[in-house]
Amino acid sequence: MAVLETRNLTYTYSKGSPFERTAVDDVSLKIDEGLIIGVLGHTGSGKSTLIQHFNGLLRADSGQVLLDGTDIWAEKSRIREVRFQVGLVFQYPEYQIFGETVFKDIAFGPANMGLDESEIKGRVEQSARDTGLDMRLMERSPFELSGGQKRRVAIAGVMAMNPRVLILDEPASGLDPRGREIIFDCIRNYHRRTGSTVMIVSHSMEDLACIADKLLVMNRGRVFCFDDTERVFARAEELVKIGLDIPQVTRIFLELKKRGIDFGKEVYTVGYAKRVIGDYIDYIKIKRGESL
């Protein structure tokens, strides 16, 4: 059963003015429970606008967003409930931090849900564990922390609401490779613990290749494709055409294919590349009658 579904979603910015631009154009999707979904797209492809519809921050001009089969706008007064169920982490979320202590900032979401003290405490501690934040940091001011730690505090603040769908917009942008890895570990921890659906928006396939079950590729406000990660990468050349940056390994293998060495598979992680090349060498050796 699809946890989140959109039907013919269309959204236009500055309607009626000379700056009018359709950011989301007739998008229909079904997102199954428990998957990690990567949302890919060039700058201005409408991916950030699309995800803001999922928790009702934006309301589409036409079309519907369904959560568990019911329109999220069916009862306007219940839109806050939707926001607790569909957690959204914005880009550079550390700029939204305001609490006097790390604990209070993470507790903002759960407190808004109206939970009691002990439940809030439990939620904060749990999401601090998910994001690898030391309990000793809890009483410190969040503004004394490092950039990467601040980012994790902000992400923990959304995770603490225990959303059934967790959406993150460019969660790793502006961090070094080690920092990026840590952020993706946090997301994996949350996914493993809760079994929630996770959507990660990025323009880097390199990051998504290792974590996503399915990829949604957006182009000019429309769905370019929505499929299993491998199948999307099988269309690497088309992805390059719409301005996406494919992983370096994939680019090498595409180049090799052009020069006549076809491995017959789409390669998008280094580990997989190693295996494929190993198999290929074995295959050549067998063909030449050499022993392995």
């Binding site: 806050r80 914005f90 700029y95 903002f108 808004n112 503004f143 603040g157 959304v158 609401m161």
Partner: protein, 264 residues
Amino acid sequence: MLRDITIGQYFPSDSFVHRLDPRFKIIITLIFTVTLFIGDSFSSLVIGGVYTLTAVLFSKIKIRMFVKSIKPLMPFLLITAVFNLFLSDGGETVFEWKFLKITEGGIDMSIFMLVRIILLIVGSSLLTYTTSPISLTDAVERLLSPLSRFGFPSHELAMMMSIALRFIPTLIEETDKIISAQKARGAELDTGSLMTRVKGMVSILIPLFISSFRRADELATAMESRCYHGGEGRTRLRQLKVTYRDYIAVTFTLLFTGIIIAVG
């Protein structure tokens, strides 16, 4: 949303008014304002209206935009009109009920003030609609520069003005983003009790202040690393030039002032 604010907005175009020297435009706006207050009769108001309309037509900016700039000031306009209606005396009494009294003079006064303020708004909107913030601050600096001989920091003032103007859209965008982020965490801004709303405001103001300080700090560093040292000896890319258009506009404005003084 916050994006729809038009006050202080600039609409780039290539009209007669756009191509006027910004220094002249500021001076003309000042003359226009003073003139509006000199005129006391209805005929002077009509002449003011004709002048304003002419200027608007020459700016090639849609009248709809001016209506938009008046809209947010509507409550203020209405209050002024109502006060004048009841508190100005003179002429015959048209309506009386207990302590409330409307006289002919009151009606005249209230319409008069309303039109006058609307003309003022349109006139000053015309200045900002047709002048880019950069040329506006350039002009302010040049107009104030004689004062720098007496130690008045005219360049610094103009710089502060242009930085402030430059960051308005940035901060609006930032505010929009922070509001969305806190809403996503269930902050209540337009619903709920007063206490929860105040709490919601705090969650927006603190990040906004912090990011403004951060931006100010970054900008200061960037300026220093490019050896910024104030206005002395600085040349400029856009030289302000006076053309025949400016003389036409000034003549036209002075003519208008003359007529108003004559009409009274």
